[in-house]
Symmetry: none
Subunit: 219 residues, 4 copies
């Protein structure tokens, strides 16, 4: 998303550690996003103000508006940042090694990872409620990216189904499991632990109904 290779100029020599302009901008943008996230979480999107965000990030308000056309764009950028981050995590589950695990184990690992993710990013919840409410299309788009990734993973676990089946399964899993993780992330630790087990049970039994007895569905 943002240029991350150290700044080579076109002559091939590494002149500086990073192109200072880009590095400085990148740092600023990220600081703005961090601050915005904090504010959105603490006061809600509607109550948070661009002025305060700029002040907290120690950038002039004008600079903020140079990177984000309006308040909504900040929220959207946060959503994208999280989606990118989450897709990154999912990448781990596409290695042959992990894909070779028995289904129950795979599901356990995946849901543990997701749980971790939500634990590490307590703001995710707050951000996406607002995204859902104020920019449903963006919310859809973000979920779609996860669903796509999931569509690519599923056939590697079990390739006995039709392509369209994978699409619907991915959709259902991402939406249901995702929501449960999201709900879980707002609960007390004990309930949270228990919910993780339930998420795994829900996911496993749903997948198993497809992978185990395909041809003889009971549904």
């Amino acid at each position: 998303m943002v240029e991350s290779t150290p700044g080579k100029t076109s002559d091939g020599l590494v002149r500086r550690w990073r192109k200072p302009k880009q590095a400085r901008s990148w740092a600023r943008v990220n600081r703005m996003l961090d601050v915005a996230e904090k504010n959105f979480m603490e006061q809600g999107y509607a109550a948070a103000t661009t002025k305060q965000i700029a002040a907290d990030a120690e950038v002039p308000i004008g600079s903020l508006y140079q990177f984000f056309p309006d308040k909504a764009a900040i929220l959207q950028a946060l959503a994208e940042r999280y989606t990118d981050l989450f897709k990154e995590r999912l990448r781990l589950f596409q290695s042959d090694e992990v894909l070779a695990l028995p289904l129950p184990d795979y599901v356990v690992r995946l849901t543990q990872e997701a749980d971790c993710f939500f634990r590490e990013h307590p703001a995710y919840r707050a951000i996406f409620v607002e995204v859902m409410a104020t920019m449903p299309e963006t919310d859809e788009a973000m979920d779609d990216q996860i669903i796509q990734t999931c569509i690519e993973i599923l056939p590697k676990l079990n390739d006995s189904l039709e392509p369209t089946e994978y699409e619907i399964i991915a959709f259902v899993l991402v939406k249901a499991i995702g929501h449960l993780h999201w709900v879980s992330s707002g609960q007390a630790p004990e309930l949270r632990e228990r919910l993780l087990l339930e998420i795994q049970r829900l996911a496993f039994n749903y997948l198993n109904s497809y992978f185990h007895d395909e041809g003889s569905e009971n549904n």
Copy 2:
């Protein structure tokens, strides 16, 4: 079902300013709620204005504030109206006759009913996204009521589990299935139909894992 003491106001959840006692008042309040719902749906909660709502409902703004202490109270009242409505529907599923159905049939009937509900109330979605974002406690409280109802139903279907199990199962079902219905309600008709089948499969397999092989969980 709905709190009827008039002026409790400190606890955050109960915030009814005045109970409409007479038929005329009741009609007015309902008109206000209908209009508010329309406005919230079309422009979003934040963009809708109390002035416009009052105007559309042909009620002086002052009168509106006699029934609702503030803008949020209108949203909350809408949420309660829907929750009451949904709990009403669930009552049908507590008759001995229906409870005697085989689990798969019961699940099918229940999810069909829920699907119907969302189809008949296209505004539900819009209302609850806003509730979720701006008054999470209310959202929780509304869900809790459904979960409670569900906790009462489950043992009647199969009484082999511990009480706490029913609580967690009800929680997971209401959250996951509820969310899927909610997602489904925003989709194209074909996908929607297919999603209903998936919801049933998800719910059935999850429940079945408890009811069928209790004592030999795989999870």
Copy 3:
């Protein structure tokens, strides 16, 4: 434009000198307009601020926006106020007595009156430059009203022409003479006096060319 008869209620009795609400509003609106005019004159329309206008008029900014949807509406209201005022003045020139004057005298009187008007309303200039630049349609509309009045007057001075002639003559007179008065109003007193004579000469010779040499009547 604004209710000016003293406030009679529907029962026919004069209860108060004026309906207090209307009177108060009317006073406020006029105070706002006066202050706005002053500000527009002193700093120009673009530089003047609604906040300052409200402050100077000692009304809350919100009240200002209750009467004027936006800054431009204030300018427009000022333009209308002047146009109404000027049409009022023109009414004097529609009495049979004045219309019976010889053409040169009529022109002299009319231009003197116009000169007076500009002398009494030094802000007219500043207001209409801004109107012209930022809302040409309004400027046109205001002029059109004067032109219409003029179209009604001309045949009473001399009825020998076709109706369409009066239209074009009125148009030319209002635009040319109006502009000259307007230019004149910004000049030093001596030049201003001399310009008044020139305006009269210009108008008289133009009108005379129509009224004198077809059929040769001069008034």
Copy 4:
């Protein structure tokens, strides 16, 4: 014709930052002016932005500010460009050949030329409304140049008057006729044609009142 000392900046009228000395610079400046004119016409002076003008002219904003000290200077430069252009046209009317024409013919020719000018420069109108509103002194100064030229022409048409007479006549003609042309330039073609005739009638009768019966004014 155009001030050529580079940096005079105190007197308000002369505000040229840098004289474009080379052909390439000259082309750039002209492109900027063309683009600015387009922007001012389409959106109005206030709404147009220097950034956009620079972008449209494919010039870095910094370069723009090397040629124009501020936004107003761009408008002023446009006004000067038009005034120079118009004075150029007037030069044709100072040849002995044309000056020898009978007054009515001379007036007809001159007004036709002016009409042409406005037809060829549809932006003139838009530019000068803004100049009038935001920098009246410049507007005066531009008109003064035309008036001066006119003062030189008049005695060549008829030398029977006092020098001061020519000054006032030129002033009135330029202001009145100029404004009528300006008004006319915004009208529909048919009206515009008719207005040209009226302008000629107005100008001729006014001039004739001086040249024909000087010494026996009726005014």
